[in-house]
């Protein structure tokens, strides 16, 4: 789980570095992201409180407190699923930028560690 979370953050950096990308939006619905963040924050707070009492759990709290990546990474039955939602500069071509983002994810070093790719989903959510 931690590996996937770190990989998701790595993928977010990859997506942001693609020319023509102006924004990266949460790939999961906003409500889900907010709930997940709230849950993580609450868990972090509880864990911190517990660690203050029993002197343990600080590492877990720090992990939970990390900002969730905007790029979604999960495992499906056929392999890894990566999803990114992006904004594209109006002066570029959305179709071309979208393909470049896909190819950048597919060719990134980190993804080759996984045996198979289920899907790489890239959605242009705004043209700025």
């Amino acid at each position: 789980m931690t590996d996937l979370a770190e990989f998701a953050r790595e993928m977010e950096s990859v997506v942001r570095s693609v020319p023509g990308v102006t924004a990266v939006y949460p790939a999961t619905p906003v409500v889900v992201t907010v709930v997940a963040t709230v849950v993580a924050t609450v868990a972090s707070t509880v864990s911190t409180a517990v660690s203050a009492v029993v002197g343990a759990g600080g590492e877990a709290a720090a992990e939970l407190a990390k900002t969730p990546a905007l790029v979604s990474v999960s495992t499906g039955k056929d392999g890894l699923r990566v999803a990114a939602s992006i904004g594209v500069a109006s002066g570029d071509s959305s179709t071309e930028v979208c393909r470049r983002v896909h190819d950048s994810i597919a060719e990134s070093g980190g993804i080759t560690e996984f045996t198979a790719i289920d899907t790489i989903t890239v959605t242009v959510a705004s043209i700025d």
Binding site: V88, S93, S94, C98, R99, I120, T121, A125, S126
Partner: protein, 214 residues
């Protein structure tokens, strides 16, 4: 001039949204206030929402157009029908929602690429607003945009400054919209239907020029 046809709010492209007055939890009034505050303090729930960003861009252009209203017209505005502003604001909210996913082709079998209908409507609105003397009211994509190759018709309601040559403006608008669509989508465009209606705006007088009232 062709009379305006406001799309039925029960049409599927509109009714698909759960909260008709909200964009990712924000009303158009909240977004307008945010814009008036210079987007300060920064609100991540707005800044990180594609729908809100599309709406903000549209609002920003509308505010610019409103600012060009000459004082004489502004003074008379309360006594006149200003429902066109409400119609445009409603249109911004509806057009900014994500809507359907419009596929983008890629040879890899694992690729799932798309551009949202909301992004395309925002693009069309921006392209239309960039045409001199035009303010876009509503945009709609009619047809099965989710299936590649299926012909799609674009329907746009647009407002113009009083006294402008409407056929010429409509042609310019169609050209701008088509260029934008070809640059950002793989849609098969069967046609672009433009409905123009007048509004109570007078084109700002150039420095040293003469105001031409009709």
């Amino acid at each position: 001039m062709t009379p305006s046809h406001t799309p039925d709010s029960t049409a599927p492209w509109f009714a698909a949204d759960d909260e008709p007055d909200h964009l990712d939890g924000h009303t158009i009034e909240e977004l307008s206030d945010y814009l008036d505050r210079g987007k300060e303090p920064a609100d991540p729930s707005v800044d990180e929402s594609a729908a809100c960003r599309i709406a903000l861009a549209s609002l920003e252009r509308l505010h610019g157009a409103m600012g060009s209203m000459v004082q004489e017209e502004a003074d008379r505005a309360p006594a006149r029908d200003d429902s066109w502003v409400t119609t445009i604001l409603d249109g911004i909210v509806r057009d900014s929602r994500s809507g359907r996913d419009i596929p983008i082709s890629h040879p890899a079998p694992t690729a799932r690429l798309s551009v949202t209908e909301g992004a395309v409507r925002g693009l069309l609105r921006a392209a239309g607003d960039s045409v001199d003397n035009i303010i876009v009211g509503r945009c709609r994509l009619d047809g099965d945009v989710t299936t590649p190759g299926v012909p799609v018709t674009v329907t746009v309601d647009a407002n113009v400054y009083r006294g402008e040559n409407i056929p010429t403006l409509a042609d310019n608008l169609r050209s701008a919209l088509l260029d934008a669509l070809h640059s950002h989508t793989e849609l098969t465009i069967a046609g672009i239907d433009v409905t123009i209606r007048d509004i109570f705006l007078i084109k700002p007088e150039p420095e040293g020029g003469v105001q031409n009232h009709d």
